[in-house]
Amino acid sequence: MVTLLLQKVKYTASKNICVKISLSCRHDDLKEMLDSNKDSLKLEAMKRIVAMIARGKNASDLFPAVVKNVACKNIEVKKLVYVYLVRYAEEQQDLALLSISTFQRGLKDPNQLIRASALRVLSSIRVTIIVPIMMLAIKEAASDMSPYVRKTAAHAIPKLYSLDPDQKDQLIEVIEKLLADKTTLVAGSVVMAFEEVCPERIDLIHKNYRKLCNLLIDVEEWGQVVIINMLTRYARTQFLNPNESLLEEGGEKTFYGSDEEEGKEDKVEAAALVVKRKPYVMDPDHRLLLRNTKPLLQSRNAAVVMAVAQLYFHLAPKAEVGVIAKALVRLMRSHSEVQYVVLQNVATMTIKRRGMFEPYLKSFYIRSTDPTQIKVLKLEVLTNLANETNISTILREFQTYIKSMDKDFVAATIQAIGRCATNIGEVRDTCLNGLVQLLSNRDELVVAESVVVIKKLLQMQPEKHSDIIKHMAKLTDNIQVPMARASILWLIGEYCEHVPKIAPDVLRKMAKSFTNEEDIVKLQILNLAAKLYLTNSKQTKLLTQYVLNLAKYDQNYDIRDRARFIRQLIVPTDKSGALSKYAKKLFLALKPAPVLESPFKDRDHFQLGSLSHLLNAKAGGYQELPDWPESAPDPSVRNVEVKYPTEQSSTEEQKKSTKSKEPKDRSDSESEDEEESSTESSESESEEESESDTDAKKKKKKTVKKWRIYVSFCVALLLKCSFPSPQAASPTCGPLKTYELLHRITGEGLAVTYCFSRRPFTGDPHMVSVQIQFTNNTEVEARSLRVLEPKLQSGMRIAEFPEIDVLPPGEISTVVMGIDFCDSTQAANFQLCTHTKKFFVTIQPPVGELMMPIFMTENEFKKEQGQLMGMNEITEKLTLGEGCRGDHVIIQRVISTANLSRVPCGSAMECRFAGKTVTSGSLVLVTVVTKEERAAQVTVNCEKMLIGTMLVKDILQALSQ
């Protein structure tokens, strides 16, 4: 507490000082602190500067002093400098450039999180000169191994686009590449970038549609919202309207089909229709979307629930939309802002699909503690839900509302009663009586509102209600609210023949008070006078003249105009034209009764849940929800034939990887999910196979032929996406080579094997990940399997696998450990312990496992190769082995020997591969040139000659077999 107080004192004191000295020498103390070499002083200074920024004070003059610290070691100082830099870089462009090199260095850092944060800050600096640097950085990051860096790249795309829209075409390429990404981390971010940069390029989605649907449930919640909204739009362009067949004959049905039975009826009718006409069959992809979004209605995030609700509203067959009602009603318990938005959307939905919310009628009842804007919206929903069966309960509810203390709400209730009365004929008289009773209410606002509503109701059947009109005429003495007075006068004028005696008297009173009335009342007095003059000129001629004269000299020109116009029209003079003959027709024409309708009618042409829908006006950047197409576009565009086998294996691979990564922790759920998604994807594949014609099958056969050629390409692609082992990814490469760590006999029943999974080791990129598999062949369970006392060469490090508690008899368990071999083939020795025994074991890596693949273009490869000539180049000639014919065999053998990736190459005689060593990151470039008669030449360029020599040997051996 004391320190807090002290801090506060310090804080206020420093603030005062700042204010005092700000005019003469601004922030000199801060500059001094920033220049000092103590981190604590720098931190204190940065904290004060950030506090200034937060309060909106200008701190831009400190820019040079702050930007110097961009490379500071202290993480917090660094972060605060970033905050400052991003805030002021736009104003101090030249100085901001000083910091760029730091970030460029950061982009090359081996730690993925540092790479990501460097890209994040770099792309947030809004300085146009660095656009090319940003572009380059984004492109590079988009093919980074780490999905987190790729996600950051996706975030950077809209930043660059807003800075320089000319980059659009290049950015679309990056987006296209990232859309193909298969990790959940990237999916949400890249779709967001897609929506901001090129929402019109719907064609980019085709190939990724199914993948997005399947990933959806595992994407983080904010990404889900964006993806769902985008997919709604996509579905509207690609699929047929599931309700189309109903729509055409729906016209008559809606007259009676408003009950809960509506759904059933629909089904029956739909069934009947299906028999009659060409049956509607839902596209399996359309079904996939609906099925995969449904569980998200259970999300804790209101935005996700709303997104799914709007998707169902816009895309689902009528009979299925009902599921969203429950979830939306649940949201009503949330914060009042959430309620406000949800109610707006429910109001729109209730107009189209009333039956859906009827069971939840009571959830919309109003509490006295609700804010007025919520009350009004609930009222709107209740009014929309009213029908013959529930109107009596609703009206009883309305009666209690009228007694509320919140007068705005009472006024809205009266409006609502009016609307119920117009919509439901049975209760019109009841409502009218109720409203008339309100005319004697003490609150003027209530009376005024009732008058306005009664006026509208009376217009529907005036002849029955002359006594109400008389009653209202009496009110003119008391009511002061202008709108109500105007309404009464209009009523009397309009129906003066129903109240022949009273009308002239009202005019007389009004003439007396004319000068003190509000403008709208004056206009209605003129109106009344004119109408009475036409119907009952004997009694009112003089009065009318008088009123017209008063109006002639009114201050308001509208009223003067009106007076002049009326006089010309109704008072016959010799000059008056032909119009005066028609005066009666003009004034006393039969007016159609007003239709009281919801302000939410027709709002559903905006996508629900959108800002535009809420405001009922198009917001900037709103993407129109397209109408359903007349006939379905080709569904085969979504087929992903070429990638079909890879996709399969990769999901399997993922499954494996998650299992091995965290064997105990997550395996259960993850494998469950994965299985789910893989079965689902295969399901949709097979569905589509059976449904789409044989064409696809033929294509598939062709693909199988081409498949071998594609392998190399896919391998490269996969590596780029950090999908680990190329061998595992492509079935032709065969399984991973396993080595024995502990034989069954020496291990006394415990057998241990290991293989190099070729996957980057999580946690440390300098380590080779080694997958170890334990098999318990004994009758008793082995306990606490762990690593003990590693004996390592200097520099080598081991990341031990998490201890295995229990390995039951006959079971197999797999774990991953990381070893940093320091780019040498020296063995790592350690002990493997069970709860009773210890075993000495050794892992010796083949040279090919000490490297990891990198992706390069042909040009880059040539450039790098040029720099690694002379001593760094080792060339050997060889004769290819018997079975080693053709490109793909060579590629497969090289890749299984060494963890490298294929470099695309123009010439058919050459194969190139690239990688870098795991620890030091030195490049390893391999070229295999084939010549006549099985002769070939292998060239390895590598800075580390030892590795180069060993690698050449291994490759020679592999190729000459």
Binding site: M1, T3, L4, Q7, V50, I53, A54, R55, G56, I75, E76, K79, L80, R87, L113, R126, H155, A156, S189, I217, E220, E221, W222, V225, Q298, S299, R300, A303, K326, V329, H335, S336, E337, V338, V341, Y360, S363, R367, T369, P371, Q373, E397, T400, K403, S404, R442, D443, S610, L611, A619, G620, G621, Y622, Q623, D665, D668, S669, D673, T762, G763
Partner: protein, 418 residues
């Protein structure tokens, strides 16, 4: 998406601003102040306000307006939900979310906001990840930091964002491993004049406080899972398992979190644990009114009804009240006309009552509205819907955790019309 954020206090001062894209002048808030002036009550400010170049989306929490500025189409709930998440995070970090707390921790607030959004798009909103990035300030840490000059920012880069279980930190260690679950149900009800229930529904949540080492995998099963007809889960819950077996299976986040919230809708029968007898009348012509209120328990299954608080907004015409409570104390604010009566525990043998007279404005006619009565109460060791946890099992770790489950029923929006 979200361009900028302004924090406005109840007196209309902007005390914090943060921009994620180019800077938006704070004069944009003038449109907000205009709307604020037009609204009679603070909660009546429309959440979405269009201005010529921007849209303002705001939420009101703890008497602070969080005003987000956006420039183009974005789902409004997206922004609102995010703003609430921001407030929750502040509350989590500072204990309270007041203007003073935010001003005192302005640097932490800034660091948090920086991590939560990137270019206006949410980046890290999971509190476990944030806590790894930025440690919450505690008094001890403040003392240590001022002495040693160390920082609040985590030295290590967070790995949570990269893992498959983003909500859980790795390497959690506790000496006492414990898992507590609170089943809390709130009854929302409207009771009409005659005492019959117009609408009643139950909103339930299961809040958990889990302090377990390593990566525990928990399963929670219910005696009567059918009761839960509408549920929403923390992302850690495996949905498929719930669908198939009605069992909650999850790897819990570390610390406090909301595992599940559910809704038992008005279509089911809901037991109402208290009843109110009331007689509030104003006589025409006299400047006196009568006020009588008696509370009593019903359908509580023998559990005591505690912390009862009755409040009512009396009509504007009431000048003062002169009441006599049989237990507890009452207050009446003559300005806001808010009557509140702190009853405490209801003794079924001697029912609490509040009786007396109200004095009205002389000469004014009798108010035609009757006040509604809002009631708050708590019942320990009972979930009114009848929900019961069957068992909690842990897999994946070998120690034996301490487990505890608590039930509680509370009044939510419980109103009695008179």
């Amino acid at each position: 998406m979200i361009h900028s954020l302004f924090l406005v206090n109840s007196s209309g001062d902007i005390f914090l601003e943060k921009h994620w894209k180019s800077v938006v002048s704070r004069s944009v808030c003038d449109y907000f102040f205009e709307a604020q002036e037009r609204a009679s009550e603070p909660e009546n400010v429309p959440p979405v306000i269009p201005t010529p170049h921007h849209y303002l989306i705001s939420v009101l929490r703890h008497r602070i307006y969080f005003v987000a500025v956006i420039q183009s189409e974005v789902p409004p709930l997206f922004v609102i939900e995010f703003l609430h998440r921001v407030v929750d995070t502040f509350q989590d970090y500072f204990g309270v979310c007041t203007e003073a707390a935010i001003k005192d921790n302005v640097v932490v607030v800034y660091e948090l906001l920086e991590e939560m959004l990137d270019n206006g798009f949410p980046l890290a909103t999971e509190s476990n990840i944030l806590k790894e990035l930025i440690k919450p300030p505690t008094i001890l840490r403040t003392v240590v930091n001022t002495i040693t000059g160390s920082t609040n920012v985590g030295e290590q880069l967070p790995t949570g964002q990269l893992s498959v279980v983003p909500w859980r930190r790795t390497g959690v260690k506790y000496t006492n491993n414990e898992a507590y679950f609170d089943v809390v149900e709130e009854i929302d009800a409207i009771i009409d004049k005659s005492g019959s229930t117009i609408t009643a529904e139950i909103q339930g949540v299961i809040d958990a406080c889990v302090k377990l080492s390593g990566m525990p995998d928990l399963t929670l099963s219910f005696m009567n899972p059918r009761l839960l007809d509408d549920v929403s889960f923390h992302p850690c819950v495996r949905f498929k398992r719930w669908e198939a077996e009605r069992i909650l299976s999850f790897i819990p986040p570390d610390g406090n979190f909301r595992l599940l919230s559910y809704h038992v809708s008005s279509q089911n029968l809901v037991a109402i644990p208290v009843y109110v007898k009331h007689n509030i009348t104003f006589r025409e012509g006299s400047s006196q009114g009568r006020f009588e209120l008696t509370l009593g328990p019903k359908q509580t299954m023998g559990k005591a009804v505690e912390s009862v608080l009755v409040s009512s907004q009396l009509p504007r015409g009431v000048l003062n009240v002169n009441l006599n409570p049989s237990q507890g104390t009452y207050t009446f604010d003559p300005v806001t006309k808010l009557l509140s009566w702190d009853v405490g525990k209801i003794n079924p043998q001697k029912l609490p009552s509040l009786k007396g007279s109200m004095s009205l404005q002389a000469g004014a006619s009798k108010p035609d509205e009757n006040p509604t009565i809002n009631i708050q109460f708590k019942i320990q060791q009972m979930a009114i819907s009848g929900l019961k946890v069957n068992r909690l099992d842990m897999y994946g770790e070998k120690y034996k955790p301490f487990k505890g489950i608590k039930y509680m029923t509370k009044a939510g929006k419980f109103q009695v019309r008179t």
